[in-house]
Symmetry: C2
Subunit: 397 residues, 2 copies
Amino acid sequence: MSTIPKIVILGAGYGGILTAQRLQKELNYNEADVTLVNRHDYHYFTTHLHMPAAGTDSIEHTRVSISKLIDEFKIDLVKSNVKEIRLSDRKVILQDGTLSFDYLVIALGGEPESFGIPGLSEYAMTIRSINSVRLIREHIEYQFALYKLDESRTDRLNFVVGGAGFSGIEFVAELADRIPRLCKEYDVDPSLVNIYNVEAAPAILPGFDSELVEYAQNVLVKKGVQFKIGIAIKECMEDGVVLANGEVIRSATVVWTGGIRGNRLVEAAGFETSRGRVMVDEYLHAPGYEHVFIIGDNSIMLNPEGRPYPPTAQIAMQQGVTCAQNVVASIRNKELKKFAFSNKGTVASLGKGEAVASAFGKKYKGWVAAQIKKLVDIRYLFIIGGIPLVLKKGRFL
Amino acid sequence: MSTIPKIVILGAGYGGILTAQRLQKELNYNEADVTLVNRHDYHYFTTHLHMPAAGTDSIEHTRVSISKLIDEFKIDLVKSNVKEIRLSDRKVILQDGTLSFDYLVIALGGEPESFGIPGLSEYAMTIRSINSVRLIREHIEYQFALYKLDESRTDRLNFVVGGAGFSGIEFVAELADRIPRLCKEYDVDPSLVNIYNVEAAPAILPGFDSELVEYAQNVLVKKGVQFKIGIAIKECMEDGVVLANGEVIRSATVVWTGGIRGNRLVEAAGFETSRGRVMVDEYLHAPGYEHVFIIGDNSIMLNPEGRPYPPTAQIAMQQGVTCAQNVVASIRNKELKKFAFSNKGTVASLGKGEAVASAFGKKYKGWVAAQIKKLVDIRYLFIIGGIPLVLKKGRFL
């Protein structure tokens, strides 16, 4: 019987891939069995999903086969859906099988949070996976095709995006870039198309520098985005949304980017959660479980001011690195490392050639910020796949 | 007050465009006013629609701006929908205006004929216009996107094409070519996709040479098309079709190519019609109206064996040429010319690199027939637009 410890990583997003890659590098031969479980056989770039969702970039620039990122001689890859995490049994129940673990890394990613707004989970689409953004892209084109068969249905040319955080803003920017091309392709008068961005908070890009927020909003207004700021969505229906001020926007296309919460599997496992997230300790342990680590969107960590870090790709990646180090340290009975977030800055793309960035203690906007966005993307490709992946998936135009 | 005769041409399809171009060439300066009325500002190649419908070629290879085909100094172009033809008043009522005429050329094209099959006009899509084929293309892609969100719905991967005449066969062939690419793009197992071609007649491509029919059917079966021949569609529902043998095929996508009939405006004008078509005399006159010509899908002419010629692009074009000559002869009080159909042969495309053709008294299949199909397309582009149009719209791959 094997006495090698079994490490199971759930999820191959930013956190899970980084954990797997670092474990692969750190562990000695036969020091542990590592299994990476993911629902798809590909890893995707969540921060890039707004482009294929709008149809401004291809799916193939947005994902990479996991087998290209990990060494399958060193790590077992299981393509399956996780059904249940049984902490007391140290088992994970998959759709087609069961895995037992000695160390578990929960990196499952979040889920859209609808805040109980009626109709949102039934009628709104979300930007959260390759499948969900392919649906958005096809749904939008389908509306144009349907409109051409009944031009009285101008509501088919209304597009509502709920939420003006990073995903919402990046998506409306791409959509605004795409609309002129769709209008040309379908012979539609562009003046009939409306893109609405509805946000309950008093400003777009909450938490971002106010000068950059103002710049971003101006860029998007010039691109044709109509903002409804400080107004919540009260209800989502099959044929539109009702806003808190009573206004009704008729639309067959509502995309909800208003928030994410933790994965329901994490709640179901018995952890104490807040919106599905678990407050982890400084070593990324789930509270009370020295052999269970939670990273990425399912974890909460507080910044020095005592407020939770927002769930981003950046923090998930950094947590993945520390998590791998701490799993190895646990196996070797060495001292664990405290996680310390190093803020590399924030960039929001505003469509072709436009962005806002706050990085290296400075503010950037326009073309320079757009280059920073590209560098961030390229840096990530380099981290996970080296030069070959940069050449294969990078966008240099 | 002008005493120049007014010629109105309704429709800029194969018949209408050829009539307009020949009138433009034949008429002397100020000899007549010619107005061409069309619902779109473009002419499209009906015989090419199966490709953009399946998504194997672009819309832009399937249409050309009418202003590129006619000289607007010589012919007035009116983009409008025809609402009514008032024969006794010599007027045509448009959606936004009225035109009076001394000579009328009705070249409006046909409409899908559903033969009273319940549900067909509500739930089936048809290959008849740029708008209708854009819808088919988008609808098919949308089914793949929706399937990926709920993989229990394998019915979304069933595609039913009603009718195995030229349109039906050419469309299933393109669809079969497209499916592998769609499967790759959407990560769908190709073995889950079913293309059904249902035909009530005892064979595909009715009227075509039996050796070529057999060849065509074998090619398509190898491409994965499942034939239901000699079986009528009894009913079309939102979620599939019921066949005459009781079989139910669940599908969200039914494309009906089973037949065409004349335009309802022609019936409504008071002509005696058979399935909306008018039996014209040998000069292409509507019976009893020396100043009204009907060509293309709305006309019936009998072949020497006393059977109606099938409505094709080929006959519509030839009628357009004779029609223009006869309008000019009428104005000049010259003798009119009898229409004589000259059969140039028939080609059915079977997708990439495959076709069957019956031309010059010979049978062709495979690559050679596919080249003939291309030559036919190029010849048409050359007739209506010369070398520039061939270079712009021709497909040489």
